[in-house]
């Protein structure tokens, strides 16, 4: 009832909607409430969740997921999926590790090479999708399988085993390590570098999305590709850049992992692509494209991380772990969904 009156008020008004209404249109408001819910829940039922060490643990868990979720969210707003994003985190780490450990490269050059590798794969994904008009779901599924095979095949070929380790002894490890894998001790809390990357990349992605022309292009190509093209949006370039964006995020996470854990397994990352999409959707991205936010995706990842570690803090039997996680996520999405529906009604 009230929403209809709101609608007539909001759309033509030049004064702008009230603060409450403006909040309700934000895609991430539902996720923020969901996050608050999960946060309060675990803070109340466990005594260690709110301790500095505990906070560092769930922030750490959310960070690498969040870095990817933010890039995946931009891509989803642009109307595409990237199923190769999970395996990409392992591929980039493997390239870095193989070059640094087995070819004896300085870690920085190895990182640079894996960055070039990642951006090439991302550009290839985007180019094939735009060139052939095939769904990105199919194209990136192909890349996903190809990378998975490449990861295992090359690793076994070069090392005769299935993991590469020993990066700690490579040249340039210390300085590269500071950038990707150092920790910041605030009191008892040990904040991982990936958390800083997560916050910085979320901020950059948000600025791109809401403050730049490129951000408008992302919404345009995701909302309606033909109309975007009709008004002169360089759709191919936009989408290719978005695919390169998820590949770049994959490189950041891969680099954080390899420099922190100093070792990488050939089968790592498989299946994580779904988690990224879940985090983006929990954060208010529509599966159909054209709507969503970067901060929302970061909050979606936060919910995931808090729930995953909170369940461990609560000492629940791990047999039921996935059930708890599923129910919690569903609850968060339902909260989110209510607000999103409202938001869309207000927007129209």
């Amino acid at each position: 009832m009230t929403t209809t009156t709101e609608r007539t008020e909001v759309t033509p008004s030049t004064e702008g909607p009230s603060l409450l209404q403006r909040l309700a249109v934000r895609p991430e408001i539902g996720a923020a409430l969901g996050a608050l819910l999960v946060f309060v829940f675990f803070s109340l039922i466990t005594d260690r969740f709110l301790s500095p060490l505990g906070i560092a643990t769930w922030l750490d868990d959310a960070s690498t997921l969040g870095i990817m979720a933010v890039a995946v969210a931009l891509l989803m707003i642009g109307g595409e999926f990237d199923l190769s994003a999970g395996v990409m985190t392992a591929s980039t780490a493997l390239v870095t590790a193989l070059l640094a450990v087995h070819a004896g490269w300085n870690v920085w050059f190895a990182l640079l090479a894996s960055l070039v590798f990642a951006l090439t794969v991302g550009a290839f994904n985007g180019w094939v999708v735009m060139r052939t008009g095939l769904p990105s779901f199919i194209v990136t599924l192909g890349t996903f399988l190809a990378l998975q095979g490449l990861n295992l095949g090359v690793t076994r070929l070069v090392t005769d085993t299935v993991q590469v380790s020993g990066v700690r002894a490579a040249d340039g490890y210390q300085s590269a390590g500071w950038v990707f894998a150092s920790t910041l001790n605030i009191g008892d809390a040990r904040i991982q570098a990936s958390v800083v990357w997560w916050i910085v990349l979320t901020a950059i992605a948000s600025i791109i999305l809401v403050r730049t022309k490129f951000g408008n292009w992302i919404f345009a190509v995701g909302g309606s590709l033909p109309s975007a093209r009709a008004v002169g949006v360089p759709a191919d370039r936009t989408k290719i850049l978005l695919f390169m964006g998820t590949a770049f995020a994959g490189w950041v996470v891969g680099s954080c992992n390899i420099l922190r854990f100093a070792s990488v397994q050939a089968n790592q990352g498989v299946g994580l692509e779904l988690h990224y999409i879940i985090a983006a959707v929990v954060g208010g991205c529509l599966l159909t494209g054209g709507f969503g936010s970067a901060i929302g995706a970061a909050i979606g990842a936060l919910i995931f991380g808090m729930a995953r570690q909170g369940i461990v803090f609560a000492r629940w039997d791990s047999d039921w772990f996935m059930l708890f996680l599923g129910v919690l996520l569903l609850a968060a999405v339902l909260v989110n969904n209510r607000f999103q529906k409202r938001a869309e009604r207000v927007r129209r």
């Binding site: 993991q163 922190r260 854990f261």
Partner: protein, 334 residues
């Protein structure tokens, strides 16, 4: 490469940078480097006394029959000693490291870790040791256990177990071996196959996916049909063993099948003569013993083995002793 002075210099460099960029936070913050970020690695002697909670963090995936037995062992020991045992696992090394961090944040009285990917877990394990939590490693990571500060390791040397299996197959008069690897990223599996192939002399490996039994069976079948000279198949997992037995039957190959690990299918196949033997690493002990070791350490500062790993295997189950262990397999302790 790991000079202390270089590290200190780097710490200073980074602190400077952090102070510039994060002026507000830096006042409170201290920074440490990647990986080797433990202040002291010597273990503070624990006061004898209270022993209430243990976290067991493994690399097994949830629902894996093998790890279920480990979990049962740990929980049984916990019940008998009156200790709360919390079992968690993740096949992803990064995720496993975070579960260890979580246990440290909870301040558990003891930690049990399986290290399939030791280097990835090193910072987390060392941090637990530095926090005064006694650590026992199990199953994999025998070589790194003491180095990272764990006071005991309970497991089976994979390479040695593989060699024992390879020798037994060679003794049975077999000429060509096919070793089936079911998990792409598992270093223990690779070590077993290497050991078996080395002891046996003539062999090849085959990669299958444990999550896709149909595919595993048809690939083993395909390998047997492609090379009729293969007369021995060694699987590294009880679920794959049953697939290999079926594949041998369907391809009308005369190959002998042997496996690592037990389950009811394997017991049936040994009874029926379709499986020569199973290498049993008695993983119930890998769950049970660490809890007891930790209790003894907490209460009495006892250690076992003087740093040498406690071997739980290889034990062998074949036609001679299969009846005795059959009921134990069914109840989830073998």
């Amino acid at each position: 490469m790991f000079r202390r002075s270089a590290e200190v210099a780097a710490i200073q460099r980074f602190s400077l940078r952090a102070a510039m960029s994060l002026a507000a936070v830096a006042a409170l913050a201290a920074c440490s480097g990647p990986g080797a970020d433990v202040v002291g690695t010597t273990q503070s002697p624990v006061a004898a006394g209270e022993f209430e909670s243990v976290a067991v963090v493994t690399h097994g995936s949830a629902g894996d029959a093998f790890w279920n037995v480990v979990k049962n062992g740990a929980e049984a020991a916990g019940k008998e000693l009156g200790v709360a045992v919390q079992y968690n696992s993740s096949g992803d090394p990064g995720q496993q490291a975070k579960l260890i961090d979580n246990a440290v944040a909870q301040g558990v009285d003891g930690l049990v870790v399986s290290m399939a990917n030791p280097e990835a877990l090193r910072p987390s394990v060392e941090r637990a040791v530095a926090a005064g939590i006694p650590v026992v490693t199990i199953n994999s990571g025998e070589g790194e256990s003491a180095k990272y500060g764990a006071f005991a390791h309970v497991g089976q040397s994979e390479g040695l177990a593989g060699q024992a299996a390879g020798r037994r197959l060679a003794d049975a008069g077999r000429k060509k071996l096919l070793c089936v690897i079911h998990e792409a990223g598992n270093i223990g599996a690779t070590q077993r196959c290497d050991g078996a192939t080395r002891a046996f002399g003539n062999g090849a490996t085959l990669q299958v996916d444990i999550n896709n039994p149909t595919d595993a069976q048809s690939r083993i079948k395909g390998a047997l049909e492609a090379d009729r000279s293969i007369d021995a198949v060694l699987t590294l997992n009880s679920q794959v063993a049953a697939r290999a037995v079926d594949a041998v039957r369907e391809s009308r190959s005369a190959a002998t099948v042997a496996t690592f690990d037990l389950n009811t299918d394997v017991v049936e196949a040994i009874r029926a003569g379709a499986l020569l033997f199973a290498v049993d690493q008695q993983q119930y002990e890998q769950g049970y013993l660490p809890i007891v070791l930790l209790e003894l350490y907490r209460a009495n500062l006892n250690t076992v083995g003087g740093g040498a790993p406690v071997q739980t295997g290889p034990g062998f189950v074949d036609a001679d002793n299969v009846e005795a262990v059959a009921t134990l397999v069914a109840q989830g302790t073998r």
